[in-house]
Symmetry: C2
Subunit: 190 residues, 2 copies
Amino acid sequence: MTSYDRGMTSNRPYHHGDLRRALLATTAEAIREAGPAALSLRDLARRAGVSHAAPAHHFGDKAGLLTAFAVEGYDLLAEELGRAGDDLLEIGVAYVRFAVEHRAHFEVMFRPDLYRPDDPALVAARARSGATLHGGVAAHPAASAPDRDALAAWSIVHGFATLWLAGALPPGVGGDPEATARQVIRRLFE
Amino acid sequence: MTSYDRGMTSNRPYHHGDLRRALLATTAEAIREAGPAALSLRDLARRAGVSHAAPAHHFGDKAGLLTAFAVEGYDLLAEELGRAGDDLLEIGVAYVRFAVEHRAHFEVMFRPDLYRPDDPALVAARARSGATLHGGVAAHPAASAPDRDALAAWSIVHGFATLWLAGALPPGVGGDPEATARQVIRRLFE
DNA sequence: TGGTGGTCTTGTCAATGACAAGTTACGATC
DNA sequence: GATCGTAACTTGTCATTGACAAGACCACCA
């Protein structure tokens, strides 16, 4: 029970302290529970224990909040991809793992109608994670046509992750997305 | 200019005649303009020239409308995939073409949080298009591991289509999604 | 100590989804 | 071709939401 969980008549301080960060965390939680379509600024405010207009102060409007959320997602993705090293297979697996573990971020990132895709911070963050992915492809020994290979690799991991998150895969596909993804990606290298 | 384009004080008949179909068509139009997030039942009603509560009569609620819209999408997809014949490459191209030409349907179909994925009509329609896709993979000569190959093929075309629709691909990727998709899919068969 | 600006609140408005209750007209049956 | 059942559509209403305006609070620094 943190300070911003208290009711409004309590001794909760007027200033939250770190409302912006708290709202982004709560956004992930709310989206995980009911999808991005059901996200409500007022619900976020209630969860954070602040007034209904507090979120707008930090993000302007709903699109502003989701823009910041997408930036956070692209930064996280770049970090995870970088951690995967130079092996293209492992980078692909890391991409799928990111989608599964940070599904809320992933679901917003590729829905540009929900935020402002032209926002400078967003463009920069997207470029960073794009460079990381493309770098992994270029380092791959079998890269005869880097551009096309990068697109094929990105497509297959993105498609798998998307279908997994949408629950569109048949029940036969087992419970471990990473292991299944590894099988599928390997198909590209045979 | 059909009868339901007239204002409410005109001689527009009380009964629309084919409101259900008209609403589904208008749904595609509205989603193409502003994405599924901005879809409004009342806006659909205004476009169709009926009262704000008319859509609910045919579809129950917003999720009901989108369920019917997704069913329509899966039926269309099965039809287009069937038309592509037995060649796996052409089936994949047809999948991408469907996503681009019917982007509104495609964007709803893979967003189960927007509708009722358990609806019997939807389950049936999804099974139909799934069978068509899987059948194409089984007919492919190089299918050594049909399940994994089907998943890889579905992933790569779905991923490409999704990235294309999201505008996530770098500007270098040209203006013709079908031709680009063909290159990418071929990568699976080399 | 006094101000200055960022943080947050209260109040309000138009728009929306959902629901209830009433009205209109189609079509089957006699 | 009159009657009646029922489907199609309307009007009215309510709680919720996003956005905005105006003001209250408070940390920080001169």
